[in-house]
Symmetry: C2
Subunit: 364 residues, 2 copies
DNA sequence: AGTTGCTCAGAGAGCGCTCTCATCAGGGCG
DNA sequence: CGCCCTGATGAGAGCGCTCTCTGAGCAACT
């Protein structure tokens, strides 16, 4: 399709030996062809404000004919803007692979960024050394901002980002002491606590009285917040009804077995993730408990590839993961656009909490 | 940690107003501090070959003291190398989200690229318009090469990559007519056909005689190849034993139901993916067939989050997905490094087929 | 002693772009 | 009729880097 318009460029070029990459047209060549100065050509390429319509057309034509595409490196060199944002994912292999969570999150981010003509750079942190590598990369000035994911306690990335002077937005409430009050610290999280309340409330409305919970790893705020929601409704609950998992099916199964051993009379379980719920379902089945007749189960996340495919399909708390990604990107873009926020103390960058709601299927 | 060495830079700088980003040190300033020319400083920064050890040390010291990091835009502008590779993923939402396949693939790629100090740029294609956007991006010269994923029939990306003159490597055997013979067309695929043979062979060795198969979408070469493998061992097989799925659990379930209706006497199923196998297991369970007693099931992929967690755990054909990603990256990097391959007809870029093998669990 | 060859350092020319600033044309005003 | 203001255009100075080319210095050869 573009072939047609691009052809004249080739014929206009001095004949190049076949197979050799022909030199990319520059602004200079566009300007020459349009009979204007480089400055004017640049103006047109960048929106065309303040250029007579007639000239504007001439330049546009030249651009089309030559198939001109601006050289980003040159542009970045002078504007000091890359049009790129880094997404730093520091997550152990196990979860990154098993959880569609990240894919959805990334998609939301990618959508929002590309809508604003920004590129997404994915930086994976696998081991300790990678912190250095990524740190160096960020310091290299390849990106205008950073999106950070699921930080663990005392994660060095926010400090790194701050040191190299890059604006950043965090996914998930950061858990280190004082984080909440830090100016400049913007995060996006879902209403974990409220979601947990919904789950427990639903189980209670079903008449369940011995409601257990399987938490995620308790060094993550999402786990803690969900547990807090559970406790909100069961302030005097039996501590034996609480078991810690690790967000995997495996861990969920182990926690379920533990709970069954401690409290054989339990009649409901709220699992802190769909993955853990699926493990719990398996253990319950093996223990001869019927779901939901004997034990009602509610999950968290509403990850499609899990929740809808368990046996029985999982009632769960839905969080709009993609929307969270989109929000993170939007927040960061806003900070990038507003020069005042890049200075130290100005402006109020506000964190955002997205709502959660209950999706009722067969398991509860 | 870097704080300590970076400090002198700040104090050496003219006092900047607090909050304002201090200007990044340039090669020029490094050279000045080390008492050498910019050229020599550049040599040291880029390896230090051909520089006297004494000067080399001086420059290194200056770099450390100033916290110098090369400006990539400037470097790219002159070298015409970005140190970045685009990964273009054109996959419908459903599969991208549900399949850990991609995460693993990406991880392999990321590992290999970062080992060679290359950046990975993820470009997601969601709808038709994105082809343009990505095409423009690639034409923009942000990257040195492209990694293409799971192309569908007549996918325009390879042509786009070729038009903008970017070397590329494809994941999965391309399916369009004549693709095989195209020079410059390098791909990485697993031994789908051989893997399928392994699966069927195993089922036969178990004494199964009515072996059905659920294929993936037949416009993808991986599906076709697996079907071919199945047929290799069952050349005179009953065509009623073949049903088409879509790589999702749902589609696998539907296909299974179909098969049961057509051939109630089937005693084994080879599913073209673990996801489809999980759907099939569910349908079999609902139909009252015991697995593996009544019907043996073998999957494909060995995706951990599925295969090990089905009930019963899935016997499946394993392909080393991460290794495939790594291979793709390695192949591309080799093309980038070797200037001869960038010219048209030279060199023999070889595609790679990775082996598959059987992982035996409980379902067969 | 003259020549050649070699290693190492510096000078300087760009890479392609943006952006400031000077210039110039034209219109409204005193 | 001259002045200033506005708006459109072009000239040119870099952005920070790499890389070629020149030349200095020195050892080894004729």
């Amino acid at each position: 399709m573009a072939d047609h318009t691009a052809r004249p460029a080739h014929t206009a070029q001095p004949a190049a030996e076949p197979g050799a990459a022909l030199p990319r047209p520059t602004l200079e060549s566009v300007a020459e062809r349009a009979g204007v100065s480089r400055a004017t050509a640049s103006r047109v390429v960048n929106g065309g404000a303040g250029v007579r319509a007639e000239l504007r057309e001439k330049v546009r034509l030249a651009v089309d004919e030559l198939g001109y595409v601006p050289n980003l490196a040159a542009r970045t060199l002078v504007t000091r803007r890359n049009g790129a944002v880094a997404v730093v994912v520091a997550e152990p292999e196990s979860r990154l692979f098993s959880d569609p969570f990240f894919a959805q999150h990334l998609r939301g981010i990618s959508r929002e960024l590309s809508a604003a003509d920004n590129q997404m750079l994915l930086l994976l942190i696998e081991d300790q050394r990678d912190y250095d590598r990524v740190g160096r990369y960020l310091a290299g000035g390849h990106v205008d901002g950073v999106l950070l994911f699921s930080l663990h306690h005392a994660d060095p990335m926010p400090e790194t980002a701050r040191r190299v002077g890059l604006p950043f937005v965090v996914g998930g409430r950061p858990g280190w002491p004082g984080a909440e009050s830090e100016r400049d610290l913007v995060y996006v999280d879902s209403d974990n606590r409220g979601g947990a309340r919904l789950a427990v409330q639903h189980l209670r409305s079903l008449g369940r009285r011995r409601i257990a919970t399987i938490t995620g790893p308790l060094d993550q705020t999402s786990s803690l917040d969900r547990l807090d929601g559970y406790r909100d409704l069961l302030p005097d609950g039996d501590p034996d009804l609480i078991a810690e998992g690790d967000f995997t099916p495996d861990g969920g199964g182990r926690a379920m077995a533990e709970l069954l051993a401690r409290c054989p009379d339990l009649d409901a379980v709220f699992a802190g993730s769909d993955a853990m719920a699926s493990g719990a379902l398996k253990v319950l089945r093996e223990a001869g408990r019927r779901v939901p007749e004997d034990v009602a189960v509610v999950g968290f996340d509403d990850v499609e590839s899990i929740a809808a495919w368990t046996d029985p399909p999982l009632t769960t708390v839905r969080q709009d993961i993609e929307e969270m990604g989109r929000l993170m990107a939007r927040l960061l873009l806003r900070r990038l656009a507003d020069p005042t926020t890049s200075a130290t103390r100005v402006a109020a960058p506000t964190s955002v909490i997205t709502p959660t709601h209950l999706v009722i299927r067969a398991s509860a």
